[in-house]
Amino acid sequence: MGKVFRFNKDVDTDQIIASQYLLFPTIDEMKVHTFESLNSDFASQVKPGDFVVADENFGCGSSREQAPSVLKALGVKAVIAKSFARIFYRNSINIGMPVIVSKELYDAVKDGDEMELDLQAGIITVGDKQFPCTKLPAKMQEILDQGGLIASLDN
């Protein structure tokens, strides 16, 4: 079980991690500033295994891979949104963080709800309700299964 952190539509990568932190030497130094402009308590409150749930077009804007990287570093288990901007989506898979399209979940949960994700079965459970996850394209599932794109370079 993990807690839901809920965000509106068109959350851009500047909101996830602002430009002024991107040239910090490491992701660990950046991650305390995650979602600073939207929810300044996020970084201190989020626990490993929690979830980000969002409306349409999550992660729009810049190609900064720091955006999914800080979420992963804080232990976010998956981002579930109605839709994703393409670069964020691809970057997330590349670093081995699940990004899941669900048209229903956002409208069915509120901030702080507990939810469960069974990635293998593709099922999200909130209370007594269940929601199916949209399947990833085979190529992306393969990258995710191996723990990200870089793993294939070390084989």
Partner: protein, 415 residues
Amino acid sequence: MGMTMAEKIIAAAAGKESCKAGDIETVTLDRLMSNDGTTHLTIDMYNNLKKPRIADVDKLVWIIDHNIPADSPKTAASHKKMRDFAKEHGITFYEGEGVCHQVMMEKHVRPGELIFGADSHTCAYGALGAFGTGVGCTDYLYAMVTGTSWLLVPETIRFNLHGTLKKGVYARDLILTIIGRISANGANYKAMEFAGDGLKGLSIADRISICNLCVEAGAKTALMEVDDVALDYLKAHGREPKAIFKSDDDAVFSEVFDIDLSEIEPIVAKPHFVDNIVPVSECEGTKIDEAFLGSCNNGRIEDLRVGAEVIKGKHVADKVRFLVVPASREVYKQALKEGLLDIFMNAGAMVMNPNCSVCWGACQGVIGEGETLISTGTRNFKGRAGHKDSFVYLASAATVTASAIKGYITSAEVQ
């Protein structure tokens, strides 16, 4: 069945006769651009590889442009890491030469190329008929190590441009209008292709401005047909095309828009989304604290000429800062030669070195709590230019400069 420009470029990069939207292809990249926004992290990942290697160092171009000159010891350390790595491995490297996309257009991009850039505005390269797309550092590293990557072949939205823009209306107004029409994710995963008789009246500066902003509609890439204007630009910069592709007459487009350029009006994108557009007149009188003329979208010599014409003999309003930032050293030198920098400085503007400046919101000219910026930059997201509770309006070089003079948002015609 015919193919689109995007399909033809990807097919060529995949060594195939054809491909179609929805296919996933393994492609060989022609060029790999990376800047100081993420390269320090790419280097860390590279150094952690069991067998670090670079497939073809000649394809790599690294550019320090976002935080140049460095604003803090942490930035300086990240720059040093990038500079030292580039020098050690013989990577083509620029520092202080200009905003990465402008430098790429001036020195590297060729029609028909497939280019990854670790920056979302890489789609600008479509102005020269190249398929440029933004990637994160993991994709970049994979391509740097293997020379290849995989791509989902995008569907294409086609924009047929007709006629000419009215006087006082600019390419920036056109692309903001288009983004407003299709919305901030209206082209997600897709290519935006521009063709039609209206193209010939648009300069390379105009074309870069249009293609550059297509990512603000979510586009994977932007493409324009290569014509004499593009070939003349290439020739003037000492390059030849790799290949010239155009969409077949029977190519399949997901949507087709016909746009009469004479109907476009001066536009402002209001906070906090690029698709939040209104005519300039609707924002008339909105007080500003700062104005910015520059960026990979509107920092070219043509934009500086427009700004200089508007401000010549006038002065920046009291309490307003006006930042003028040529997009490259080439642009800076030309502006100097033409006396434009004198005009800006006599008017009370601050002329900065070529860099991403306030468009990047972390280097110079950041705005404070409650402040308002009008900008030719690429984005107006919340906090993009500084404090999280500040406001960014996007507009053309003419509107930005006219507003700097008045101290509130106004169009150049109202002067």
